[in-house]
């Protein structure tokens, strides 16, 4: 079986799962609650995927990711309410605004390494959060923003569960595909080199500063897209949705899934969104249970549920994510 063929097969299988099997099952259950949880899991999968690029692949510990998610959400909400733009415009524009902010704030911090960088992102995240909370004239501050319009696109009402889900799923799948290409191609290798030893990468001709800024911008872009999805699905956003706790939650998803592994990040997001919902019957104890699961998974699989090595191997071999040598058919993966 050629790798192209196998990749197609896997992609078709996956898309069928997301766009046919899952909606069918959800429709069969007939519960909008499950749709909601599915949307949320997908949105966080995108958030985790975008953080994976900076934290997992490029090794820049990011403690303020939720702020870019927030910037995207606010951009989408403001564009939708003030300018009356529809989803088709707010999604990319939200991504772009978050990316712009990400690049702007990245510029002064790019000289920083390791934990210094982490703390700078924490500070930047907090500052953006404070702006959302306190710049009342624009963000309406603590009052948050309501999108009365709901989700509409080209005159279609997308606010029913199925269309909402399809929009979210399609956006998330496309975004994850881009993230997959970025992190599993040679570009990912450059980022990984940055993570392993930035000085050494520098000596190889890798423009580490530019790379960091790019990675930050791209990651911000997708966080912004996720923010727009949240704004449109929830219909109401306010600053607490984008606080430090959310950043930590996303980080936990990436770590539980496996730093450096995109499928891991997605799996981590699914677990950490679905688990607290599944544990509702435990009442007050459910958050302890979340802590325990988090702890156990880190203890027993410290490299993540899907470690980087196996994720790369899978992505490159099964998904034909490898690039090849002309003529010779050698694939490039990890074994």
């Amino acid at each position: 079986m050629s790798d192209r063929f196998r990749a197609r097969l896997i992609a078709i299988g996956f898309l069928a799962l997301v766009f046919v099997a899952a909606p069918a099952a959800l429709t069969a259950f007939g519960k909008s609650y499950y749709w909601q949880v599915a949307d949320l899991a997908l949105i966080f999968a995108l958030l985790a995927g975008s953080m994976h690029l900076v934290t997992g692949v490029a090794g820049l510990l990011q403690l303020g990711h939720a702020a870019f998610y927030g910037v995207g959400a606010y951009a989408a909400a403001l564009l939708a309410t003030k300018a009356g733009l529809s989803l088709a415009f707010t999604l990319p524009l939200a991504g772009l605004s978050a990316a712009t902010i990400a690049v702007l704030v990245a510029l002064p911090t790019m000289r920083l390494v390791s934990i210094y960088f982490a703390v700078a992102t924490l500070a930047i995240g907090q500052m953006l959060y404070l702006i959302m909370l306190n710049w009342v004239e624009v963000t309406k501050g603590p009052n948050g923003i309501m999108l009365f319009s709901g989700m509409k696109f080209a005159g279609l009402d997308l606010s029913r569960p199925l269309p909402t889900y399809l929009v979210v799923a399609a956006t998330v799948c496309v975004s994850l595909f881009v993230l997959h290409r970025l992190s599993h191609s040679y570009y990912g290798n450059a980022l990984r080199a940055l993570r392993e030893d930035d000085q050494c990468a520098d000596a190889m001709g890798v423009d580490t500063v530019r790379l960091k800024i790019e990675a930050f911008g791209v990651s911000g872009f997708f966080a912004g897209v996720a923010g727009a999805l949240w704004a449109h699905t929830a219909g109401f956003i306010s600053p607490p949705d984008f606080s430090f706790q959310t950043s930590i939650l996303i980080l936990a998803m990436v770590v539980v899934g496996g730093l450096g592994s995109l499928p891991g990040a997605v799996l981590g997001a699914f677990i950490l969104i679905l688990l607290p919902e599944a544990l509702r019957p435990f009442g007050d104890f459910r958050n302890i249970a979340v802590g325990v699961v988090l702890f156990a998974s880190i203890l027993f699989v410290p490299k993540g549920l899907i470690g980087e090595v196996s994720a790369l191997d899978f992505a490159r071999r099964q998904l034909a994510g490898a690039w090849r040598r002309d003529g010779a058919g050698a694939e490039i993966g990890w074994r």
Binding site: Q199, A252, V255, I288, G291, P302
Partner: protein, 302 residues
């Protein structure tokens, strides 16, 4: 003028409370190079322990502190066992150098902190606990135009004691050298015969003792003891530690004071809601000029 002096005094006293937490935090970071997310919970547990002791026995403050020290040591040792030791079973180079490992302990301590906080919440609720008036350390003392409290003096005294004591231990004793050695190169420390595990356990015990004492002092100072009390000061202490250059305890203390002053002055000049903004902005500016913290060393040579 008096107004600004008063604000400065308040800022210093707020900074002192951050410094108190930052000392233990920095000590633990110093040995392991990992962020101990559960330090805020150790602080909270210290405060609750102190409160329980006070409400059941009403002993003098010194006795409360001793009891809290014991609790802190116990919690620290437990924390190390659960969240940190398991990850030292990997001694191969890839693991030692892998960020995944470092971030694992970051996450395991985060997980434990979630468990601890939720457990405290179930046990005590998330409301503020009322601190008996007799135990509070907030009697005003007028110093000319400026009012401070007896708590400020106690916190200053304790922080100074901690700082000087730790500096002495770290710089001038074999134990201190071992701690720094483990922090610098744990593998190398094994070759010179440092008992790495024991050093780490001790550091955790001491760091957590300091954290717990910080909790009870700040708790009695503000009269606000609640399950989530460790979060904000924990973040501030983290920021102060990084600004100070990670492994410098005096650096962390100085930066904690700076942060406190920065917050109170920005409330005075701008507004309370933006004061954190000013403090974080200050951090960013500092890092732009001192990418490795104010008191941090240079990057290793190639």
């Amino acid at each position: 003028m008096d107004f600004y002096l008063q604000q400065l005094a308040i800022g210093l006293s707020v900074g002192m409370t951050y410094a108190l937490i930052a000392i233990g935090f920095t000590l633990i970071f110093g040995v392991l190079n990992v962020v101990n997310f559960a330090h805020g919970e150790v602080y909270t547990i210290g405060a609750f322990a102190g409160l329980l002791v006070v409400t059941t026995f009403a002993p003098p403050l010194l006795a409360v502190l001793l009891a809290v020290l014991a609790v802190g040591a116990f919690v620290g040792v437990g924390l190390e066992r659960l969240a940190f030791r398991p990850f030292r079973r990997f001694s191969d180079e890839a693991s030692l150098k892998s960020r995944a490992m470092r971030e694992s302990t970051l996450m395991s301590s985060l997980a434990l902190s979630i468990i601890a906080r939720e457990a405290l919440e179930i046990a005590f609720g998330s409301r503020f606990q009322s601190v008996p008036v007799a135990a509070m350390i907030n009697q005003p003392i007028a110093l000319g135009p400026v009012t401070i409290t007896n708590g400020d003096l106690i916190i200053l005294g304790v922080a100074a004691l901690m700082l000087i004591g730790l500096q002495y231990v770290l710089r001038h004793t074999q134990v201190g050298l071992s701690i720094r050695a483990v922090s610098n190169n744990p593998l190398g420390a094994k070759y010179v015969g440092v008992d790495v595990d024991r050093t780490i356990v001790w550091t955790f015990a001491v760091g957590s003792m300091l954290g717990a004492v910080a909790g009870v002092l700040v708790g009695f100072y503000y009269g606000a003891i609640f399950a989530n009390m460790g979060f904000t000061p924990g973040v501030k202490a983290f920021v102060a530690m990084v600004m100070g250059g990670l492994s410098s305890i005096p650096g962390a203390v100085v930066c904690a004071l700076l942060l406190g002053v920065c917050e109170s002055l920005s409330t005075a000049f701008v507004s309370s809601v933006w004061s954190d903004m000013v403090a974080y902005g200050f951090l960013i500016v500092t890092l732009i000029f001192f990418p490795r913290g104010i008191f941090g060393g240079a990057r290793e040579r190639v």
